[in-house]
Symmetry: C2
């Protein structure tokens, strides 16, 4: 039914000048309206309120997005599509969310169909990490590049892969779980069940956890002072702040992080020969203290030809990347979503 | 000039029913003529004679390929294109071989232009490992699949990646160096300069080297008997033969090999979510002794959704894979080569 509705509106809607992008996070939902040149003409964010279950979240999302449209002086006829980035796993062809760790009750949620009914515009749904990377390719740090891999370093390591300008989704839309590629089959246990996963060494959480481990084992560090002895308060930022103050142990933790991040990026470069590797997440604030040693680490583990083809750059779109990317995907890959 | 020649002939040639495929190896060159349905209508192989330099190798190759065509009862007008798989690195867009470890004197060799002049048909050149995997996708073990990664386990580990039915070449045509993705940034040194490369653990050579290491360190094994004490004669086959005889140490070496091969394949599955992973090389003769424990190892390191989407299968085309794949690429991706 919904597909029919979407198809019916296609002729009229496909030429409209604006597109809605939505990024569903565990805590907040971010939404934008962009024009076809990726210019943001409106934005809004609001709490997810995931505890209220999928139906509430979806209705509330539609309500907020409609309000944003009106506030921007736009009407229904100005909106061509809506793209949504969602946690997964999901079936991006059908727009069904199979499950989502941080969203209680999301099991086989027909997100595409529900939102098409509520908004009256064709909707495409994709993985949130993929959308964030696509945003950087469409309108951010990797603009214009055709072969890009993106990594978001947070609690875990999220990934997205673009080859020849198109998002890589894989056989059942679960590609780019780069955080769960192993850097040591005898390494740290990951909650995914595997060992030595990239995100066990190169996420923001991993930096904090490595610092905690050493301090528990008696290493002295400014980090302990910064958190007044409360180990639970250690974050990647605490480690970075101690590093900036010349703390020796923080430097060790940081170097270990960079060694593994470098190895993971080297694997991407040797494996996919991208033009750009985009890094997102709070750690990119470290600037040269991150990117200089990281480039050295990656150079040591790659072929000179592939290394020289690849720039490693910080993301540019911050918290809007996912919403902008979701909009970009429904515009540029509307064929995939059947829009 | 050559491009012009190729373009001129395009109208006439593009519809011809057969295509030549050539696979340049360090020792032998294998060539086939296939029809557009991937049926092999002729084949030939001959020594590379690499020591005689690129000009000799290329002229000899053209001579042999022409002789094969005549012998098959075909004439020049029956041949649409010629595809060549070559060692690299290479510029597959321009058909220039930048260098090749096993081919002395191959530096910036204009292989496409030279062969177009000699054969009088449009030529496309690509990486030999990519061609072999493409052959399996076009006509072998992964026929009909759209998302495939292939690995050839030999002296090293060669790789090829197909996404949405197209070969992944990367920013400067050096993608899929899967043998040089790291499984341990503190691991074994590789001759490429990096540490812990996949091929240091999961190639046929690595199996033999691991066995040698242990035996040198005093491990007792049937392997020593099989080679009459000559360590240089140990190959992956020797290890396998001892394994079949119930040799405990051979079992350990084999299990270690499978652990790493499994980790590497798990990384491919979590990273690219393929439908098929094709394994080529002599070790596939081990059959269930390879594929059963390998599947278990991969399952432990992957998400159930991505694991269930992926079949891990032995290659089918043997020594013809590269030549058949080279022909398939110039047929199916003629746009890339400008044919």
């Amino acid at each position: 039914m919904a597909k029919k509705g979407a198809k019916k509106s296609k002729g009229l809607k496909a030429k409209a000048r604006c597109v809605i992008g939505i990024d569903i996070g565990g805590t907040n939902i971010v939404s934008v309206i962009v024009d076809r040149g990726a210019k943001v003409v409106a934005k809004v964010d609001f709490p997810t309120e995931g505890a209220k279950g999928p139906d509430y979240v979806i209705r509330n999302m539609a309500k907020n997005v409609k309000a944003m449209t009106v506030k921007a002086g736009l009407s229904h006829k100005d909106i061509a599509f809506c793209g949504i980035g969602s946690p997964g796993p999901l079936d991006s062809k059908k727009g069904i969310i199979m499950g989502a760790v941080n969203l209680p009750g999301w099991k086989r949620v027909m997100l595409k169909d529900k939102m098409e009914k509520l908004l009256g515009v064709p909707v495409g749904v994709d993985n949130d990490a993929n959308c964030a990377v696509y945003g950087e390719v469409w309108a951010g740090a990797a603009k214009g590049a055709k072969n890009v891999t993106g990594l978001t370093l947070g609690t875990g390591v999220g990934g997205g892969i673009i080859i020849d300008g198109r998002l890589v989704r894989g056989a059942n839309y679960n590609a780019a779980e780069i955080g769960h590629t192993s850097l040591n089959p005898d390494g740290r246990e990951c909650k995914c069940g595997a060992k030595g996963c990239f995100e066990q060494y190169a996420s923001a959480s991993a930096i904090a956890e490595s610092a905690r481990e050493g301090i528990r084992n008696g290493r002295r560090s400014l980090i302990t002072e910064f958190v007044r002895g409360d180990m639970t308060k250690i974050t990647s930022k605490t480690v970075y702040d101690a590093l900036v103050q010349g703390d020796k142990y923080a430097q060790e933790v940081w170097s270990e992080f960079i060694k593994y991040l470098g190895a993971g990026i080297a694997n991407i470069i040797n494996g996919l020969n991208p033009e750009v590797v985009v890094i997102a997440g709070g750690v990119i604030e470290a600037g040269d203290r991150l990117f200089k040693p990281l480039n050295d680490a990656v150079r040591r583990q790659t072929f000179s030809l592939t290394f020289s083809a690849a720039k490693i750059v910080p993301a540019k779109l911050g918290g809007l990347a996912g919403a902008i990317g979701a909009a970009g995907l429904v515009i540029n890959e509307s064929d995939f979503y059947g829009l």
